[in-house]
């Protein structure tokens, strides 16, 4: 199994940020954006291909969660914003 290339990692990162941006709730949106950014930064130096693959898999799963939850929340009209 080929390890994920730099391009794939960046593409996953962008996809996660894009989806996180869609959260209607301020707190979830800011958390998702911040957490994704910090997680990718913290793991930026990982070399071992197995670890990279595992992290990418986790990332893809989380992307799925973000997509489902964001859709759910938009449908429920949870966009009452805070100050």
């Amino acid at each position: 199994m080929a390890a994920s290339s730099r391009a794939q990692v960046i593409s996953l990162y962008r996809a996660m940020l894009r989806e996180s941006q869609k959260f209607p709730s301020y707190n979830y949106r800011t958390y998702a954006l911040r957490r994704v950014r910090d997680a990718f930064r913290a793991n930026g130096k990982v070399e071992d291909p197995k670890t990279v693959e595992r992290l990418m898999e986790e990332g893809r799963e989380t992307l799925g969660v973000i997509q489902r939850q964001e859709k759910e929340q938009s449908m429920m009209n949870c966009d009452l914003n805070t100050h």
Binding site: N27, V65, R68, L80, H83
Partner: protein
Amino acid sequence: MLSPGRTVSSRLLRPGSWLPLRLGSERTAASSLQKELIKKHELEKDELRPLYMDFQATTPMDPRVLDAMLPYQVNYYGNPHSRTHAYGWESESAMETARKQVADLIGADPREIIFTSGATESNNMAIKGVARFYQAKKHHVITTQTEHKCVLDSCRILESEGFSVTYLPVQTDGLLDLELLEASIRPDTSLVSVMTVNNEIGVKQPIKEIGKICRSKGVFFHTDAAQAIGKIPLNVSDWKIDLMSISGHKIYGPKGVGALYVRRRPRVRLEPLQNGGGQERGLRSGTVPTPLAVGLGAACSLAQQEMEYDHHRVSMLANRLVQKIMSEIPDVIMNGHPEQRYPGCVNLSFAYVEGESLLMALKDVALSSGSACTSASLEPSYVLRAIGADEDLAHSSIRFGIGRFTTEDEVDYTAEKCIQQVRRLREMSPLWEMVQEGIDLKSIKWTQH
């Protein structure tokens, strides 16, 4: 045009707000109509929701937890105790996975975790259950004055049953005096109950040392870890804890579920509070709510993963808040030990300002003074009284709760608003005027004759 009586939402329409409808797209139009109405209603109230800064009262669910729970609310709805079909098996398997996730967070064995309806039930089970089981030979229970109401109330019930209970005082920094604890343990003591992190002032008790003392004296040690779980590292073996209460909705999990850790080696026996079909080792009968248990498990496993990141962030934000407030306004006291604490629970007393008025002035921030369960009564918090806070300072305290989802902007806004309102309220206060003039308030005789 809409004719009245055609759709449910038409009853909600106010006169003059007819919205044009295209024929044939009624259903989507109805739901978007609903949305419009709700939006209008909210905007007309001209209210945006306040910032949430009350993470000790409860926490919002982490989206990842909700995601884990949903399949069990929708598709996998079987009773986990049904032995005869796949619905039961898949539900049971999810429940056991959740049990393992909870156990892993605290360093326990999955067989030692009992699912309950929350930390209140767990506390009741632990205290009443242990005391009643061993009552043939043991009649004494020890707890502290700063425990959660459910612990204090359970102890009160035990007293009415003939047990004797010692409510240990705490020092002014909120910590328990270990020598006093050791001296209070009698040969007929069955249980000591001390909470790990206090929900009002955030103080972290020396649980490791207390566990050692209790183990050496052969007394069971129960701790209410609802505010500590998932926020600070806990290990029931290292800390010699025999019983531990866990709450779901304090760690970004669902409300209505919790757990009780009951040690198996050496065995802790309990008289069950809830009898029935013998679920949960016979200690807590009743169908385990699989979706809630799955949520609790997911929340625990997430908490373990995110603990370091969250702790670092929460400490940083709490420091930011406290520094900002204390550098701008004088006479602010932080209640509780400055170091032995969980940083996310900051309890500040603002002298010469009334707590309720400050809370109302900060109406766009959701805060509390004291705990949620005592917020209905007008009395100052018993926890603050127990740490020896002055009566007037106890009335002026506000608890700021910072959590996983708090942002820097929210903290800055809260700090600024707080500073602004405290200044304004102090300006209106005659007590503040007197203090400015150098009068010592304690020297004033308030009575007229």
